[in-house]
């Protein structure tokens, strides 16, 4: 190996290793890096709770109406796209949970007989987005504050009762969204040198590090991801426990090419197993993809006409029931389409069982689903990011009785013109479509399939993409009542 090659490889390793970056690297190596980020978000959560309970009932005039639904959602998808799972890393709900773990020292494992894996999270995810539409959570700071309280209480109780990170792994709907979104992230927590791990006898990255007295001084991965066998970002909260637990500093945050390492569903992932044998993960991808489109559909004019028609046809006037019907139909339609695509792929590839194609290719929907979510959330963020300025001016004015930051400039709202925002969200959706198509093609190549075998999936992806384009071109309409 020449000196030049050695130098190039060394520089490349340094650049891709975020712990070796100036300032950021120092912060990531700091044991309290996560806590410091969590404290910042905890402060914001407390502000939201205060304003949600005691602030104006109008969402645009209240931190609990603006920060979660405009800024937080937009920043979550931006972070996932350009950095990593930062919002699980900085999750404030886990601070009280830490208190619960100290208080109750739970020893019980998450019961396998009661909704194991992702089933409960999937159920809660669908329930949350149904409630979001049925109760107009986006329009109610008070309900938003109650959702935040429910999150704090749930994290406290569940992790006070069950050992490990049961809440993150089995319950948290936001976490599941972040896990799937982090498939597109450019960073991953992984080992620097796999050969070092083969010589390791302590396995601190998963067991944790203990003092001579037996006291735990650093947690290992509570989600059960054993670093040497960890694949990609699924189930990783970026908590950095493994980074701090490794006695030889062999675990770090690294740059990577998004998606590429995640494509093979038959890879044995530590803490997860093979995705091709996990129906809960399959339905999570399917559900989140369908919900991405349904959630966006809830904000455009045609939904009112559809619900009006459904109401007259089914003789149902209860909006919550109609929405449940719409959600079940939407998820069901995508499910049926994906199953059919899988069956045709299995037949064309001469593979058995007939589920084979579905089990392998359903995950290729993830980038397009995430693209739809990102397009939706970015639209709100880019058209409303500056509303935080007059809101803060108003908050200061109401709190101090004096316009310390000036009189509220309510005319401030968007970061970009609407035409640019429309172009950008379309581009984001197209990138999602591109990612999904690439996923299907690369996987087909890995599995030595002919092009015709994955045609059903390409047709499904094109259909979904066109539906997304149609959705993004519809006029927005926001009502408090869907049947009004």
């Amino acid at each position: 190996m020449t000196l030049r090659t050695t130098l190039t490889q060394g520089i490349s390793r340094s650049l891709s290793d975020l712990q070796r970056w100036p300032i950021l690297g120092y912060w990531l190596r700091w044991r309290h890096a996560r806590t410091s980020a969590q404290v910042v978000l905890l402060m914001l959560a407390l502000l939201l709770l205060y304003d949600g309970f005691f602030g104006p009932p109008l969402a645009p005039k209240n931190y609990a109406g603006v920060l979660p639904w405009v800024h937080w959602r937009g920043l979550v998808v931006l972070a996932l796209l350009f950095a990593g799972n930062l919002f699980c890393f900085a999750c404030p709900f886990l601070l009280p949970r830490r208190l619960a773990q100290r208080l109750f020292q739970p020893r019980r494992a998450w019961p396998r007989w009661l909704l194991p894996g992702k089933w409960l999270a999937l159920l809660l995810l669908v329930l949350f987005f149904w409630a979001y539409e049925a109760f107009d959570l986006w329009a109610s700071p008070l309900l938003t504050a109650w959702v935040i309280i429910a999150y704090f209480v749930a994290a406290f109780l569940i992790d006070g009762f069950f050992r490990g990170a049961a809440f993150c792994k089995h319950v948290c709907p936001i976490g599941q969204f972040n896990f799937l979104g982090s498939l597109a992230s450019p960073t991953v927590v992984s080992v620097r040198d796999p050969t070092v791990c083969t010589r390791c006898t302590t396995k601190d990255c998963i067991r944790g590090r203990f003092a001579a007295t037996g006291q735990l001084i650093q947690r290992g991965c509570e989600l059960g991801l054993f670093q040497p066998r960890k694949v990609g970002n699924l189930d990783c909260t970026f908590c950095l426990d493994c980074v701090h637990a490794c006695p030889v500093n062999n675990v770090t945050v690294q740059l990577r090419v998004p998606v590429l390492a995640e494509i093979d569903p038959t890879a044995n992932r530590s803490g997860i197993g093979r995705l091709s044998t996990r129906p809960d993960w399959m339905l999570l991808v399917l559900g989140l993809t369908a919900l991405g489109f349904l959630n966006a559909f809830g904000m455009v004019s045609p939904i009112y006409r559809l619900l009006q028609w459904l109401s007259q046809t089914l003789h149902i006037t209860n909006e919550a029931v109609l929405l449940a019907f719409l959600f079940a139909t939407g998820i069901g339609m995508l499910g049926v389409a994906a199953v059919l695509a899988g069956v045709v792929t299995s037949l064309l590839a001469d593979a058995r069982p007939l589920w084979w194609g579905f089990q392998r290719f359903v995950y290729s929907l993830a980038p397009l689903g995430f693209g739809m979510w990102t397009a939706h959330y970015l639209f709100h963020f880019l058209t409303g990011a500056l509303t935080i300025v007059p809101l803060t001016q108003s908050f200061i004015l109401d709190t101090l009785g004096y316009p310390l930051l000036g009189w509220p400039a309510w005319q401030l709202a968007s970061l970009l013109t609407i035409d640019k925002v429309n172009d950008l969200v379309l581009l984001v959706l197209a990138l999602g479509f591109f990612g999904s198509t690439l996923w299907a093609l690369v996987l087909a190549r890995q599995l030595h399939l002919q092009f015709k075998a994955i045609l059903p999936w390409l047709v499904l992806l094109v259909g979904l993409f066109l539906f997304g384009v149609w959705l993004l071109s519809q006029p927005m309409e926001m009502r408090g009542t869907l049947l009004g």
């Binding site: 309970f53 100290r102 401030l412 035409d419 926001m478």
Partner: protein, 152 residues
């Protein structure tokens, strides 16, 4: 453990402050109410709109002699740029907006702000079910040139 103590202290502080103040931020004890007299076009459509409204005091009497008041139209979803215009008094306590427009279909909240007897007041009213019209309205809070109805 310091972080746990900090959390407990902060939580107690927030609860105590909230309970002690026990009132809504930004709540103005205004007794002024707003009554929409007419909306043109009717039923309300996306695009330029003329709102006529009457302000009433706590005894239900029309308020006159204010000259002009500020009218803000906003949506129930945060992040949308509100429409802020002036409304001049026509007489008999009826005010008419100048240059107001509904920039999006849906439910709108109309906020009227002004000063009466040296005291600031704020009154609200909801206009539900603004529909997409055939007009080509301006976009919400962005370019003020001719541009399409906000999509998505």
């Amino acid at each position: 453990m310091w972080i746990l103590r900090l959390i407990v202290v902060l939580a107690l502080f927030t609860v105590s402050v909230s309970v002690s103040t026990a009132c809504q931020r930004g709540q103005q004890h205004s007794t002024v109410t707003v009554e929409i007299v007419s909306v043109e076009p009717s039923p309300p459509l996306v695009g330029p709109t003329e709102l006529r409204f009457r302000l009433r005091d706590d005894r239900g009497q029309p308020i006159s002699g204010l000259g002009s008041v500020e009218v803000e139209g906003t949506m129930s979803h945060a992040g949308m740029k509100p429409v802020i215009v002036q409304a001049r008094e026509e007489g008999d306590g009826v005010f008419v907006t100048q240059g107001f427009e509904f920039t999006m279909a849906g439910d709108w909240i109309i906020i009227v702000r002004g000063t009466r007897n040296g005291q600031a007041f704020e009154a609200r009213h909801t206009i539900s079910g603004v529909r997409s019209g055939i007009q080509s309205p301006k976009t919400p809070g962005h370019d003020h040139g001719a541009s399409p109805t906000p999509t998505y």
